[in-house]
Subunit: 235 residues, 2 copies
């Protein structure tokens, strides 16, 4: 269906899990944040619980039951629930909660990403197509040295992946048709939605994204245009 011989004019990327290691980074950030207040937490468990509230929070917006709010706001609301779960709800002021919320702006890229993105940028436009906001993605790029050409994703579509409008908004913003754009992700469901929206697809496995017990997305489960082992293979 897609002409694999034609190089994409742009590559757009899922970010959490695909480009950056959110679990280790949030665990480390939260552990240090509480340690500075003489509180010991189980960092990975805290990161997992916080992240676990992400999909249900977006679902209310995707279904139209709530207007679009940026992911920063959802992360903040989810943090309050997370703090309550860990019995920490009375430990932090609102301002401190926002400071802890910045954990999501301080995520380490997987080691192959920065060199791979620099190489790819010489050939094509590169941009995130993440559910993260422009504010979040901008700060994350500065933290990790991600050389994006522009920030695309949920905010320009005012909706969340895997709604087709998000992939289409990215293509439209670049004045490209979907078949000129390749979506890169470590999640088969993201690629399934992108492929259904007419984009080309590339899968990269991140088998430790969810920690040692990861059971899904260990390999490509769809008919993707590319399956790569590291980002530099896209260039």
């Amino acid at each position: 269906m897609n002409d694999k011989a034609i190089r994409p004019a742009a590559y757009i990327f899922d970010v959490f899990g695909t480009v950056v290691d959110w679990r280790s980074s949030v665990a480390r950030f939260a552990t240090a944040f509480f340690a500075a207040r003489d509180i010991t937490i189980d960092g990975p468990a805290f990161a997992d619980f916080w992240r676990g509230l992400y999909v249900p929070a977006m679902a209310r917006i995707r279904s139209g039951n709530r207007g679009y709010v940026p992911l920063d706001q959802l992360h903040f609301e989810n943090l309050l629930e997370c703090l309550e779960n860990f019995g920490l709800q009375s430990e932090l002021t609102e301002e401190e909660c926002w400071a802890l919320n910045a954990a999501w702006e301080n995520l380490d890229p997987w080691p192959d990403c920065v060199p791979g993105l620099h190489a790819l940028k010489k050939q094509a436009i590169i941009a995130p197509c993440s559910n993260g906001s422009i504010a979040l993605m901008t700060r994350l790029a500065r933290y990790g040295g991600l050389p994006w050409d522009c920030i695309l994703g949920a905010e320009i579509a005012q909706n969340y992946k895997p709604e087709a409008v998000v992939y289409h908004a990215c293509c439209n913003a670049l004045r490209l048709s979907p078949d000129q754009v390749m979506m890169v992700a470590a999640h088969n469901d993201d690629l399934e939605a992108a492929q259904a929206a007419g984009l080309k697809t590339a899968f990269i496995a991140r088998p430790t994204e969810r920690g040692p017990g990861q059971s899904r997305d260990l390999s490509a489960t769809g008919n993707w245009d590319r399956v790569i082992g590291s980002m530099d293979q896209l260039a």
Copy 2:
């Protein structure tokens, strides 16, 4: 009113004229484009006429008489009128017109901009706040090596400067208040609107932007927070 001692968290930039030399670049691009078809044009006159249609084209959108369309589309429509003015309307196919429209994606930065922006990026977020679209600004950044952190401006606001909503949309997208953001421009009217919207302001003179006969914006005419001689003075 503004606390000049507090450094902005982000700097946003007018681009056409402030960061890039649109007149010389469009003149050169168009001259070469027609020369390849054995047609001689007056490049600077062509650039001036084309650019002269820019403000009236946006005015229809700013007044609400037309929905938002990206500047690429306005440039294209204005090009058709420009071709007619120069008696060239039957010389180009629609595809060729779009190729010529890409003149606006191939504009040389003023010599101080690339080093100045790299230095400033180490201290604060930098982004265009231009009437150019995401597609245009992205390609222009790649052409000129402009190291933006993200692309802001008219498209995320779905309106055109100097409407206040454009400046506010840029601040909101960065999760910053207007007084944390400095607008940098070579045009006093742009800064007037940005200041009215609550942003900090910096003026930089570009006395040859409009060619040898330039009569406006030769110096700062408002009470701006900064007046700089080159971009590296922002850092």
